[in-house]
Every structure is written in structure tokens, then in C-alpha cells.
Symmetry: C2
Subunit: 383 residues, 2 copies
Amino acid sequence: MAANRPLHGIVVLDLTRVLAGPFCTMLLRDLGAEVVKVEPPAGDDARAFGPFLTGADEASAYFTSLNCGKRSVVLDLKQTADRSRFAELVKRADVLVENYRPGTLARLGFDERRLQELNPDLVYAAISGFGATGPYASRPAYDVIIQALSGIVSITGTESGERVRVGTSIADIVSGLYAAVGVLAALSRRDRGGGGAQIDLSMLDAAVSVLENAVARYQVNGEVPVPLGSRHPAIAPFEAFDAADGQVVVAAGNDRLFAALCEVVGAAHLPNDPRFGSNPERMAHARELKHELEKALRQRTVAEWVASLAEAGVPVARVNTVADLFQDPQLAARGMLTPVAGLDGFAVTGSPLKFAGIPDESVRPPAPTLGQHNDRPLSAGKR
Amino acid sequence: MAANRPLHGIVVLDLTRVLAGPFCTMLLRDLGAEVVKVEPPAGDDARAFGPFLTGADEASAYFTSLNCGKRSVVLDLKQTADRSRFAELVKRADVLVENYRPGTLARLGFDERRLQELNPDLVYAAISGFGATGPYASRPAYDVIIQALSGIVSITGTESGERVRVGTSIADIVSGLYAAVGVLAALSRRDRGGGGAQIDLSMLDAAVSVLENAVARYQVNGEVPVPLGSRHPAIAPFEAFDAADGQVVVAAGNDRLFAALCEVVGAAHLPNDPRFGSNPERMAHARELKHELEKALRQRTVAEWVASLAEAGVPVARVNTVADLFQDPQLAARGMLTPVAGLDGFAVTGSPLKFAGIPDESVRPPAPTLGQHNDRPLSAGKR
């Protein structure tokens, strides 16, 4: 890995499993850190999640997609000898991330005080469902629980009121992202002489923090936000429409774009219609607007609309499936689907963090087998 | 603001507007950085987004929720004098974040080379819809466009196949989070002597990066992922069920939790039913399982189930609305809805980044009025 990657030289001890924690340490690895997964003898639970890849070790595809390029050391922290080995690793690490339930690592002999004694400059981040304080602190959580409690489910769904889970584990993922933000801010302070840090990251706190304008709108107008299908709560047109052969998404965020949209679809009279002259008027007559636009959009295919509207500078999109991503020229140009070494074309998403002067990985290193680095927890440069 | 905040002393020049960029710089402000919004004479577009707060300046609730505690300076970068003032600020800044379309800042006289000449240690992050390279680089984008292109919409929706937008602008928000991760990683490198950095952050790249196991599953089994309502693609039961007076979400991620769930709801026979003995069997008979569990869950209220299942250690949740968040004891204990000074009880979400020894803000400072800090772009400690 290139020596000028921003986290080159940083060692991260990774006691995380499944998703939020591994997502965080994946980001740190992609930025150049050396990430050492410390796994219990049974391994990260995600190693057992199907489907499995073909090949020598039939690894979990899910586990692979979160753990490329990390190292793996098996330690049983219930055993004295392994606790000593772990303490040695703590002394050499810059960062420790875990996503046990609050109190678990302390019961294994490593509370915050002990960690600080071992390494006063350690940046320690604990990710849990609800954080270490408050009445729910000891409750178990999974992504869907946090999505439901945070209010995200209440504003995601159809206009007829059917509420759904966000199709990706967004509560886990934003928690992993926030944890990385916290770790890196603390690392920057440490590097300016500020010492170590302890971060208590709650998935519920993180999920509530991404509700965006729903919290503000509710307080001002008193209306409880509800699902709106593909519509935007404050802008029209800004949603999916039926074209001749599927759906096309159009987002006309201002009057100029609305006029350009109407021109291209052959409905140039609409901006002069008093129902549609401004965004507040378009919001007030959203259903009629949709009817008028769809009448026009149904006449041609999604591909035709995407071409002609993009040409006119109107924000437009087809609704890509996961299969479509593998054909998308922009994602190809950005290197966003990257094969994993030795896995016969199996790709994982690339890092969206593109730094000038640092080439993207054109091939991802594989995820470690369980205990692959038992004999050498740290790489040659770090021992 | 407490002097031990991790980014105390860091100056961020903020040329961003609306959402992805302001979300990024809000995170940096919450971590202790001094964030100076450099706004065009018309101000950040979001200042004009309703609804508006009552009070002296009738500020936008939306703008307020993203810009608390930042400073505001108006500069017209088309004017020579203001470009000089901006250049002076660049010399004193640690970080510059913008979310113009690629090339815009260069056309205003500040390309990457000029920025580096002014300040070789500057960490410069540019956020755009598609990034600065690739065939879509010059296209406009809004959140819903990126949600559609990234595949997120294709996996979010009802079991009957109606696809919806995630109800929060998740493409903008994960882009803001990733940008913060990139900025902080670069700052850490700089603080270890590595010099400045330029980051090219694409919202599409960021959104694709959070698809999680959908990308892996598709490649292994060839099935294009579709929306699943509130269900999980690989675990059952892990979804919303009808109770007597609303919906309750239950997530039994393993056999032990499934047995505990069945015990509490009075269906202790289910784990012995060959259709439901293991997770693969439960997935294969998900519809029948839902029917059986709902028969039991319909007998009592959501509140009763939340109490009894939480007591038994089974992950459970009601589907909170945004209004419910203001009553939630865990969010209250964590300080996650924080009043803004001078705004008569109007609250914004607190920071989920909780550091030991650094108290949360019990009151958020207000968002700046347009040009409030024209005379003193930087605070006293920074001039």
C-alpha cells in the first residue's frame, strides 16, 4: 500500500464483528492504516453468513466485502496468556475499536482505566446499540431495531402509508462512519499533543443525527412527517415518474430547471400554468403536476429521457439495480467496483475517498482467514 | 467551546451550501473546529428553504439545523477585492470544503495549484454529485438522483415491488460523513508532517459504498436484489409485525433469541416446528412464520410487547415517529435533542460523538445571520 496514504503507519486494533465496527475499520484500512482484527476462537460472526464464495476457503461473501486487507489474530480474552498478548498489542496500537455490548471489554479485564494505563495515547472507540449511558444502555440492538426507534422507518415508505426499512443497513453504516470521524478527530488531537481519547458511539444517536430536516419541520409546523414514496417533502417535481418502459427520476430544484424540463418533454406551457409557476405552487398541486408530466414522459423510453434531459442540464436518473451498477460507465471510470485478489472476478466497492496523488487500489487484497496472522500480529514494519 | 475538543484550534473555510457540504462542516464544528462559512452575496441557498422560525430574523429551520455555531462572511469571488480577502483566509485555514460543481472554484481563480501555493498544508475537500472525473462529472445532481443511480432505491420499498426514496437525504448525508472522514485522515497526516491534501468526493461513489451485502449477494447467487418491505434479506424473523394497536419490530438474529421470542409471545412450540428450527428454515418459510408470530403478537399492545420482550433480552422496538423522539428517555439521557440559544425551545439533533471528559453542548449556539462575521472572519484567538 502506498506510503503516502493518510493513515500510513497507524495501527488499529479491531475487536469488532459483523457490520458497524468492521465498516469503521474498513474505512481506516482503506486510508492506509494497519488493521489487526482480534477475533475470538469462533471468529467474527459474519464469517458464518452466507452466501459463500467458491474457492479454497469458501469464505463468506459478506465477510469478505467488509474485511479486505485486514490482518487476523485469534485471542481468547478469557485466557490469561491471551490477555497478556492483547495487552502487548494495546501498547503498540494507535487506535482500538470494539462493538461489544457496553461493559463487556471491562469484564474481560480491559476497562478504560486499564487501557489508558497500558497506552495513554490510545484512541479508543466503543460502538454499541444505545451507548454506554441511559436507560436502554444494556439492551441488544440490530440495524432494523435502530432504524425503527430512530424515526427513519416512519418517514420511509409509500404515499399510501406503508412504511419500510431502508434496504441497506443504514443504521450500522452511519454508525461506522461516525465512529471513523470520531477516531480520526481524536487522532488529530493526539498528533498535536492532546493525548488519547475514549469515544462512546451509540447507533441510535447516530441514526437520529441523519434525520435531517424532518426534525426541524416537525417542530415548526407541528405535522408529524410521514413516508412520501419517492417524493421530496419540500420540492416538486423531485421524484420518480413512469416512462414508456420503466421509471425515470427527475429533480427540478428551481424554476429554471423546471422550465428546461418542461421544454424537453414537450410541455412548455406548464411553467405558465398558475398551478405550477413556482415551487410552492407546484408543491400545492403536486398530484396534478405529476399527472401532466407523466402524460408526457410515458411517450418515450427511460434511456431517451436520460439522454435528452441530461443534455439539457436537467438532473435525471434511471433507477439502477445492483446489476446495473456493473455496467455504469461513471462507476467504472471511478474504480468503484474493485476485484478482490484471488477471488476470480468477485468485486467489492472501492473507496470513495480519492486523494490527489494517491492511486486507487486496482485490486483489493483478500480478507484474512481466521488467525492468519497469529504468528505475526503486526506487519514487519511494526514489530 | 471546551478547549479540549479534538479539533480545537482548527480553522475550516466552508464554501458549501444546502446539505452534503454543510453536514460535513457541521461535524467538524461539533468536534471543536472554527468553521467560517464563506457565502456569496445571496447566501447559502438553504437560507431560503422553509419553514421559517419565528423570531427576530425568521431564519430557515432547515438552515439552522445544519449551521449552528458556524461563522458567516460574505464574499463575492467574482470581485477582485473579495478574491484577495479569500486568499488571505486560505493562508490561515487548515481545511477548505466546497460543494460546487467540479471546476467552479478553479474558474473563480482558485484551482488546486493556486490553493497549494497559498497554503501548502491546506486540506482541501471538494464534494460533487459524480466527482471531478468520469463521463458524468459535469452533470448536476440532487440526493434523489444519486439515490436512484446508486441502487439504493432499487432495494428500498415494499414486498409487492413499489420502490421508494429513503425518507432522509441519505446520499447527501453519507457524502458529508465520508468527506469528514477524508478531511480528518488528511489532517492527521498533515499533523505528522505529511503536508496538505486534495480530496475529490463523489456523492455517487459514497452512496454505492453503503450498499453493503447487496453487491456481494448479487455476484454470488446472480439474483438482483429487490425491496423487501421491512424484512431482512438473510435473517428471519427480523421485521415489523402487527400488534394490537400498531407495529412492533422484532429482530431474532439467532436460535437462542428466536426461542426467547417464542416463549414470551406464548408460541413456545414454534422452535420445534421443522419449518422454523434454524434460520435457513425460517427464511424458507418466512411467510408462514410471519403468520404464526403475528397471530400471537396481535393479542397485545406494542407497549406491552416492548416491555416484555426487552425484559427477556429480545431485540424489539416500536416504530417511532419524529414526534415520538421528543419523548424518548434514551435520547433525552444522551442529550440528542438540544435547544438552540435564543430560539424559544427549537431543538436540533445533538452530536453523536461523545468523548469522555468533554461535556455535551447543553445549548447549541445559533446559526449565523448572513455576513454576521464580515468584520472579523476569524475569532479573536485566530486573527
